[in-house]
Symmetry: C2
Subunit: 427 residues, 2 copies
């Protein structure tokens, strides 16, 4: 089995998450890729810092160059942040024949063109799924799933922190300052607050998406970028009166090839009927219009340890596939279907009955004797005046018990039609 | 430049769409993959049938075996439908060293295990993104983007036709029979109506998703599959009174590895707060819960010529990438940013003013002299009793004109705070 050695530049919360997943899911990589992925060495700022994962002293170094020049390391995960040194290390990794996976959106936004060309020349990969909306595979969707499409527009909520602040203002009637204070307390706001509050982080991501759609790197200074600092509670309320929410929307759009690309990041009023209005809290949402597929819409967690780790893992796997790692996974003979009778959920039932005395009491008794308690019930006369529809919802109960109720009611002479039973999904 | 020759089994509406895109976007494949993709030969039932695309007689054959055994064809696109003959042709293609892209969900559902193993043994690819929710890259998302995640559950609206019928019942108060009649007229219902109306098509897709998540093929006969035939308008209305919609929901769920997998296709009541409730008409929607990323949600067009063609193209490109086709696209030097002043859209403005006579008329005059017409306007006294907030929305106007209004108002002595301007998105 092929072995892939991975080196880390930076081992903060995301890096530790990736390291841990590479180890804990080793069997997944073997089964799906026929490779063994080995997290080998991480360059950190302090060797003694307490970390969530257990590491030996041989697995840590203070020397970043030791990672990017290491003879045994195949793939470098750049999670160090910053721009100049990260760029230098990335170029050095390429020069040493190593592919690089990164989450560093500021670096790509500023030097993407140079870095991608350098990777191309060196014959290695530079992968950056984690740089835009970790929980939404937007890079893969634009580059691969929609590869045959011309993108007409993308509108997205790309910064989780500002969306969290706007959501708290909306839902709890907080002022901007109050909501910002709450976000700070939860550690949601980047150290450089301007990234979240002035739309800069969303703009970095927009520049990357614009490159993916139109193969041109535009400088951030050329686009209209406004953050959420001017959004007052009274704006949110005025918008709500007209059935809109205020969201920080990053937009790219091109109607035809002659027209330039419209790019902006601005607080915008989003009608409730637009799917982007349903993207609340720290979630990201992206709406894509393309020539073949039409409208696509994606929602997922934005940044943070988990979504970013998942995106980095996806890029690591893409690297492995590019190295020939691809396998039909072994069939999992252990898997079996759960008996449907064991599923517990609430239900809706409609029972068409003769409108005679005692019917309702018989039905409620059958339910209760099968351990099912009623949540709501209504009876409606049908237009024939002889029959009625009883429509009820239950609290959570076992599918098996609902089946019993259904078959008991089905034997009753008062029943006029097949009993209808639908499960009710959670919110 | 590497050349990839593609052969088609079946050249109906999807096949013609793919063929046409392969030709019209030739420069895209060259620029992104460094390959030339050549649609070479299609096996059809009639050579004389009128088609949307122009073909020479050399490009058509009646002989399917001519495609799967052709010495120059690298990749076969199986769009013939049906099961037994499609299976035979697919296996023959593998035997002849050809990879196969398919949209045939019934075939995969029934013989996926055997076909994937055969492809594996032959060292070729069997790709089926188009088989589930064409406009949503769900296969790629589960297999690649979420590759490091354990999937806890997937709930999806996977059949566009039944969703279209339910949506028309809901929105227009139509009976099931009336809505079905409308869908038939539009050609939305498959010839074998049971596929759409009895949940069978959704179940085929669910079986494929269950395999992707748990690596086991379950027989469709072992899962609970109910279609939409029992959904009456009165059910939809009762659900609406409780803020729910009725949708045909395919579910797979496993809480922990010991428990079996719950699989079902059933009409279900979906609370309006659940994103699946917003998936209307012929759209598909899929909600995924996974261990690292948490909740992800995807919406896109389900079946039909365009989404299915797009998914087939995506698989063709995956095949090319697997053959080493990968390239940083040439920078498109022609691309430029559109001046933001040229964007036309409606706007929201908030203007904080001294509460003195004539202010409103001054403001409305500035708007009108810049060609901007007001849609709504409200004035609210602030708690200090000396100042007021004027909040207005405009009809569509040019960004440049809004900027002029903003700067003219900013010079007025009645202004107490910076003017706030946010664009309004379409529904």
């Amino acid at each position: 089995m092929k072995k892939i050695n991975v080196g880390f530049l930076g081992l903060g919360t995301v890096g530790q998450g990736v390291w841990e997943q590479l180890i804990s899911k080793a069997s997944v990589w073997e089964n799906k890729l026929d490779v063994q992925i080995d997290p080998k060495l991480a360059a950190v700022r302090s060797l003694d810092k307490k970390r969530d994962i257990e590491l030996t002293t041989e697995q840590l170094t203070l020397d970043k160059k030791a990672i990017v020049t290491h003879p045994d390391i195949d793939l470098v995960i750049e999670l160090m942040g910053g721009i100049e040194e990260a760029k230098e290390m990335t170029l050095l990794a390429f020069k040493n024949g190593k592919s690089v996976v990164t989450a560093n959106k500021a670096l790509i936004c500023e030097h993407g063109e140079e870095l991608l060309e350098a990777a191309n020349r060196a014959g290695v990969l530079y992968l950056y799924e984690a740089s835009v909306a970790g929980g939404i595979p937007i890079i893969k969707v634009v580059q691969e799933a929609l590869v045959g499409n011309l993108i007409h527009s993308i509108q997205g909520i790309l910064n989780g922190t500002s969306n969290y602040i706007l959501t708290r203002m909306e839902n709890e009637g907080l002022s901007y300052e109050e909501a910002l204070g709450g976000a700070r307390k939860l550690g949601y706001v980047e150290q450089d607050e301007s990234l979240d509050l002035d739309g800069v982080d969303a703009a970095h991501k927009l520049i990357i998406l614009t490159y993916l759609c139109f193969h041109k790197w535009f400088p951030i200074s050329d686009i209209k970028v406004e953050g959420i600092r001017d959004v007052a509670l009274k704006d949110i309320r005025a918008a709500a009166r007209q059935k809109h929410k205020i969201k920080l929307i990053a937009t790219l759009r091109q109607k035809d090839a002659d027209e330039g690309v419209h790019c902006s990041v601005r607080p915008s009023l989003v009608p409730l009927s637009n799917n982007l209005a349903s993207v609340d809290d720290a979630f990201n949402g992206i709406c894509i219009q393309s020539d073949i597929v039409g409208t696509s819409f994606l929602i997922g967690r934005g940044a943070g340890r988990h979504p970013t780790s998942s995106a980095v893992l996806s890029d690591i796997v893409d690297y492995c596939r590019n190295q020939g790692g691809r396998k039909i996974p072994e069939s999992d003979t252990e898997q079996k279907l759960a008996p449907s009778s064991s599923i517990a959920q609430p239900y809706y039932m409609r029972i068409e009955v003769e409108d005679t005395k005692g019917v309702l009491s018989e039905i409620t008794q059958i339910l209760s004797s099968n351990d099912i308690s009623i949540s709501t019930i209504e009876q409606e006369m049908n237009s024939d005046q002889d029959t009625a529809s009883i429509m009820l919802t239950t609290h959570e109960c076992l599918d098996g018990n609902i089946d019993k109720v259904k078959s008991e009611i089905s034997e009753k002479s008062f029943l006029k039609e097949k009993v209808v039973v639908f499960p009710i999904l959670p919110a």
